[in-house]
């Protein structure tokens, strides 16, 4: 099958084109480095099957980070494939640098201009024919419509495309270098490596084992100018191409927005960030999100659940079937489903941040702060997305160039409270702390951040990170379209329902079976019989008794390892909750799972900090390796356990002052901890600025 690769600079719109072309739902965002690995899907163009590849964006073919390495490898390993270079017309000069580098390698390449309409609005117009003539490759304009994009790609595949090297390449004498390199590297990598030698260095060579005695032979070729000569020749060519094909009357620089005066202001930047986050959390967890959740709970548990039970009653279903639907389906799944509006609201706000272009500015604002704790400004992408889902947030760390900063970011992400933990906090907090629940939820989110900061500080002392170069391209501020917002909401709803049906419902059935059958597979009809789940949980319960947790809570935590949503559904099943009232049953002393304020606090703290779900663990393993993941999970359990026990005793001490005062005291404690950490961070200087011994880590390899 023929292959088509989408390549280009970061944020040129490759993934959006890929989605439209293949009817996919690949994650897109208005910041650099959204795509971190090659994604492929088949599609039909002109009645022929093609595999379309969406590659991570890069500025240059010599990779600086892992995701850029993927792109370079794909280009070098597929010399006969067709490469569609997606180019942002507003940033033509820079994008053509990559186009020229690809043409120098002799790959079959076409240019697809993106954001043409947006360019016209700014006063940037590019003549397709003039650009095609000057570059020597076919040039197409990409429309923002699915059908039209497919028709453009049909034209692309039917166009006569030849690998035509640019004229200036003759000046580089690459043939002589390639002749000397032939015995030491593969045919596909010959031109690439010859260019690196022409630039004057062998450190960027690709899979080439060059013996030391060969190096003097290159000197006999009398290659003058080195990198600067190669770059200036290429740039002169690009300048000529742009002069012939582009007309611009744009008055503002690309990426500039009036809001930047506030967002990037050195005094206002951080307060604006905190205000934005506060508004997001207030709307999600406050009145608005709570109101939507109540509606969802009423519709699913009361109305639909009521109909289902009436139907079973009419059909005179056996007791075991009624018990299953009542406890496993309505209580277990329904209790989780009711939080769909709040989860969607949080993910929606995070998406709006991503699409608006604010997130790239945030990386820049937080860069000096993050540098002090051994992270990179780009860590903010992953940490912020971690509030949504750790599984999707961890892969974004691939864009961080420094390995230590990348690993540190990946292991800090699970401390950001993900959206799946929200139902647990809301229900248990609501049941035990009543109207003060918002304070508890806010405190828990702050606690996650406080623990992450503390770990970052400790790790930075133990394994300091050398500062890496950081250049951030500010993406243009955009108002996300209603269609895009709807598409994101729909996509997240589908993912949530998919998870609800295949993970939560599946596991809920297992929990129900374990809770309602003995080891001899006999359905439990009287309280004297002991279920399988009770036996297992009672075995582990003594371990959690210092946190004041009974076997029911322990059981919920065990299932939380599979997916955090299962914590709540387990509690609902174990408490045999019927109808609206998971929260009420939690404080009911007759229930299996019942909490005191102190034990609830310990439970929530442990739930916040203990191991992430299985899918997040697997992403962590691929990001940082098996050994680090294993050590990390062990330490994370110990930390969660220690803080859980501490929360239990702290809660016990201040329980006497009343629940309301207790919540305020706890929030103040977490707030003070964060303030102390911020003070410590401000006292810590960035590694390069303080010691002067280390160099900028241009490239550690």
């Amino acid at each position: 099958m023929k292959k088509i690769f989408l390549v280009g600079n970061p944020n040129a719109g490759k993934s959006t084109v890929f989605n439209m072309l293949t009817n996919s739902q690949v994650h897109t965002g208005n910041w650099h480095g959204v795509t971190v690995t090659a994604t492929s899907k088949e599609c039909t163009l002109n009645r022929e099957r093609y595999t379309i590849y969406d590659l991570p964006g890069t500025y240059d073919l010599v990779p600086f980070s892992n995701e850029e390495r993927v792109t370079t490898r794909m280009i070098l390993d597929n010399p006969d494939a067709l490469f569609v270079n997606v180019v942002d017309v507003n940033n033509l000069d820079r994008a053509l640098n990559l186009v020229c580098e690809m043409l120098e390698l002799g790959v079959k390449c076409v240019v697809a201009l993106n954001f043409v309409e947006a360019g016209k609005r700014r006063g940037v117009a590019v003549g397709l024919e003039a650009l095609s003539r000057a570059l020597g490759v076919p040039v197409f304009a990409l429309p923002h419509n699915k059908k039209q994009i497919q028709s453009v790609f049909s034209r692309i595949v039917s166009a006569k495309i030849t690998a035509k090297p640019p004229k200036y390449l003759e000046l580089f004498d690459l043939d002589k270098i390639a002749f000397l390199l032939t015995p030491y590297c593969g045919k596909n990598y010959l031109k690439y490596n010859a260019l690196r030698v022409r630039e004057g260095a062998t450190d960027g060579m690709w899979e080439c084992k060059l013996p030391l005695n060969v190096l003097p032979r290159f000197r006999t070729l009398e290659l003058t100018g080195g990198l600067e000569y190669v770059v200036s020749t290429r740039k002169n060519f690009i300048k000529e191409v742009v002069r012939e094909s582009k007309k611009s009357t744009a008055k503002t620089p690309y990426g500039w927005s009036k809001l930047d005066k506030i967002i990037l202001n050195k005094y206002l930047a951080l307060p604006v960030f905190f205000a934005v986050m506060l508004v997001i959390f207030y709307l999600t967890f406050g009145f608005f999100g709570g109101f939507l959740s109540e509606i969802a709970e009423y519709v699913v548990v009361e109305i639909l659940g009521g109909w289902l039970l009436s139907l079973l009653d009419i059909l005179s279903a056996p007791a075991v079937v009624v018990n299953f639907f009542e406890n496993a389906v309505i209580s277990g799944v329904g209790s989780v489903f009711s939080f769909l509006p709040q989860i969607l609201l949080l993910l929606l706000f995070l998406e709006i941040l991503e699409q608006s272009g604010y997130i790239s500015r945030l990386a820049w604002i937080l860069e000096p702060v993050f540098n002090r704790i051994g992270l990179s400004g780009r860590s903010v992408f992953g940490l912020l997305l971690g509030f949504g889902c750790s599984t999707t947030a961890i892969p974004t760390t691939a864009t961080i160039k420094n390995d230590r900063a990348r690993i540190k970011t990946a292991i800090l992400i699970p401390f950001m409270s993900c959206s799946a933990k929200l139902p647990v906090f809301s229900v248990i907090g609501g049941a035990v702390f009543g109207v003060n629940n918002a304070l508890i939820i806010f405190s828990l989110y702050l606690l996650g951040v406080a623990v992450a900061l503390l770990i970052a500080l400790i790790l930075n002392k133990m394994y300091p990170t050398n500062k890496t170069e950081e250049i951030v391209e500010f993406t243009p501020m955009r108002v996300p379209s209603a269609r895009k917002i709807f598409s994101i909401v729909w996509q997240n709803t589908r993912q949530f329902l998919h998870r609800l049906v295949f993970v939560v419902l599946g596991c809920t059935i297992i929990i129900w079976v374990l809770d309602n059958f003995t080891f001899t597979l006999k359905f439990i009809t009287n309280e004297a019989e002991v279920s399988m789940l009770e036996s297992i949980s009672k075995f582990l319960a003594p371990l959690f008794s210092p946190m004041g947790l009974g076997f029911g809570a322990v059981c919920a935590l065990i299932f939380g390892l599979i997916a955090k949503e299962l914590v709540l559904s387990s509690i609902a099943i174990l408490n045999s909750v019927t109808g609206v009232g998971v929260a009420a049953s939690i404080i009911d002393s007759a229930s299996v799972v019942c909490f005191t304020p102190a034990s609830a606090l310990a439970f929530l703290t442990f739930c916040l900090l203990y191991s992430p779900c299985i899918s997040a663990i697997s992403q962590l393993k691929s990001a940082v390796g098996g050994k680090i993941t294993a050590i990390y999970l062990g330490l994370q359990f110990l930390l969660a356990y220690a803080l859980g026990v501490l929360a239990y005793y702290l809660g016990g001490l201040i329980e006497s002052v009343g629940v309301s005062a207790m919540c305020w005291v706890l929030m103040c404690v977490v707030f003070v901890v964060i303030c102390v950490e911020i003070a410590l961070i401000s006292l810590t200087r960035g590694r390069c600025q303080s010691c002067k011994r280390c160099q900028i880590d241009f490239k550690s390899k």
């Binding site: 500025y59 080195g226 170069e469 950081e470 250049i471 951030v472 241009f698």
Partner: protein, 66 residues
Amino acid sequence: MKLSSVKSGEVRVRSVDAPLYFRRRMYAYGLVLNTKILVRGRGVYIVAGVMLGIDREIADKIVVAR
């Protein structure tokens, strides 16, 4: 003078005082010789018509002239 010492106005790149690997990337970002840089604020620059955030350590390596 170093780019980091420029507080405002327009300058042109004279050289990038860094190892080859790093220079190559700077050039890919558009910071080639004679490129016009408009200093917008602390660490924020407009390079060839595009807004870039360049940190102090890198700005120290870029030699510019008015």
